[in-house]
């Protein structure tokens, strides 16, 4: 059956609501911000690509800048507690959490909303992912908010829990590398290395296919370029899963932002590398759509040595056929 981890044996009482055999992964790369108050939905609605009123919890969205480039990618959760006021949890890349808070405060003006960093809250909150298939029982009452990952089914469930409760449930942190490996193999970007702030476009980052954007909602920051591109423009580049088909440890994907070309060490540029999982075998790259259609090989320089490596491309199964 499922191997029971040592830590599971210690659980009793409320923590025993955890179903047997689930793999809980604490995601240290992500951090949490909480927004409360009667105007919290209105504040967020003017800043994100998705529609806060019709979306599930959690839902995926991007915060864009005025020029329509991605600033932060986020999962937004509606608070599970039955509170008199609406409360939302925003999960973002930990390295830009403070910038996100500044961005929210800047646009708040007179709205009745309070923005609280996840570690300045009464209790510190962290993000936990649960990626095992099969029956899942929510970790209530430990969970502040959570639900199915809205981007792709195989990513399982995601929860916001108090740090002090998580340490009981997650015995070590190695699984986070497994989470990122799964994510890259599925072609899902997350965080500032895959989506460098101020530089990339939401539609090129496959926001439509990860259910992160609504074209039926009103104005939000950066909407003009995004809506115009969707309705009248052509998307020439996309984030694509790339991988190395070689077991040699020295052969790894190129470093973030490294160029990818049609010939080893030269030739025409077909795009740039973004992030990759530990081990450097799976990652994401922003590639010209033409390059995908031609199904050629592309080349780059391994991130740990100067070797030229063959980079293979894989279009994720959840892409629609004519791409």
């Amino acid at each position: 059956m499922f191997p029971l981890r040592r830590s599971f044996i210690r659980l009793r009482g409320p923590a025993a609501a955890v179903v047997r055999g689930c793999e809980l992964t604490k995601l240290s790369s992500r951090a949490v911000v909480r927004v409360t108050g009667p105007d919290s939905a209105s504040l967020l609605q003017g800043l994100i690509t998705n529609d806060i009123h019709v979306s599930s919890s959690p839902f995926y969205a991007h915060f864009l800048n005025v020029q329509g480039r991605i600033l932060y990618d986020a999962l937004v959760y509606r608070s599970a507690a039955a509170e008199a006021e609406a409360a939302y949890w925003i999960e973002s890349d930990a390295t830009v959490r403070d910038e996100l808070v500044k961005h929210l405060r800047r646009h708040k003006l007179r709205k009745k909303a309070t923005i609280i960093e996840g570690d300045k809250d009464d209790e510190e909150y962290v993000v936990v992912a649960q990626i095992t298939a099969g029956d899942v029982v929510p970790l209530a009452p430990l969970v502040a908010a959570g639900g199915v990952d809205p981007r792709e089914e195989s990513l399982g469930h995601r929860f916001i829990v108090r740090r002090k409760d998580v340490n009981d449930l997650v015995s070590n942190n190695n699984e986070e590398d497994d989470y990122h490996l799964l994510r890259y193999s599925l072609g899902i970007p997350e965080g500032v290395i895959d989506l460098p702030p101020g530089k990339c476009l939401p539609l090129e980052s496959n926001l439509v296919y990860v259910n992160g954007i609504s074209f039926q909602k009103g104005c939000y920051v950066g909407q003009e370029l995004t809506a115009r591109t969707h309705h009248t423009g052509v998307i020439r580049k996309r984030l694509v899963t790339v991988y190395i088909d070689d077991d040699d440890d020295a052969v790894m994907l190129p470093a973030p932002d490294a160029p990818l070309t049609t010939d080893p060490g030269g030739g025409k540029s077909v795009g740039r590398m973004r992030g990759s999982a530990k081990g450097g075998k799976w990652g994401l790259a922003l590639l010209r759509v033409n390059a995908l259609v031609k199904e050629g090989r592309i080349y780059g320089t391994s991130q740990t040595s100067d070797r030229q490596v063959v980079v293979r491309m894989k279009t994720p199964k959840w892409w629609p056929p004519p791409l």
């Binding site: 209105s42 504040l43 609605q45 003017g46 800043l47 005025v66 800047r106 646009h107 708040k108 003006l109 007179r110 709205k111 104005c219 939000y220 920051v221 950066g222 909407q223 003009e224």
Partner: protein, 129 residues
């Protein structure tokens, strides 16, 4: 010696005189407001976060003045804004435009605003560019 006279005026009036220079009302705006407003009503201008360029203007008819409001008047027409919003629009002009596509109040020539969205309701701050 106008400055000496100003100093001797009571604080409310002085406040109003100084306010007059911060927000201008165009002729069209004054005309429209005089036709539109009922007793005690004025046009409230508010700046909110959001909108396609980062911040947006909101217009509404109102009749209640709060503590943190500033009042701007010309020829009987009154425009009111709160001190937070005023930071974003001081020096601008409130206009009323009638076009085929729409007729509306607009904030124009805002020295703080940089690019705006094509419908004119949203703007971004110069320091952001």
């Amino acid at each position: 010696m106008a400055s000496v006279r100003l100093f001797r005026l009571n604080s409310v009036l002085r406040h109003r005189l100084l306010s007059r220079t911060l927000l201008s009302l165009s002729n069209r705006c004054v005309e429209k407001l005089n036709r539109l407003s009922e007793d005690g009503e004025f046009l409230r201008v508010t700046v909110e976060g959001g909108g396609c360029s980062g911040f947006q203007y909101k217009f509404a008819m109102d009749s209640k003045v709060d503590e943190d409001d500033r009042i701007f008047e010309r020829d009987g027409a009154k425009v009111v804004t709160d001190d937070v919003s005023l930071d974003f629009i001081n020096g601008a002009t409130i206009d009323y435009e009638e076009e085929l596509i729409r007729s509306s109040f607009r904030v124009v020539e805002n020295p703080h605003a940089s690019r705006g969205c094509s419908c004119g309701a949203s703007f971004s701050l110069k320091e952001d560019q």
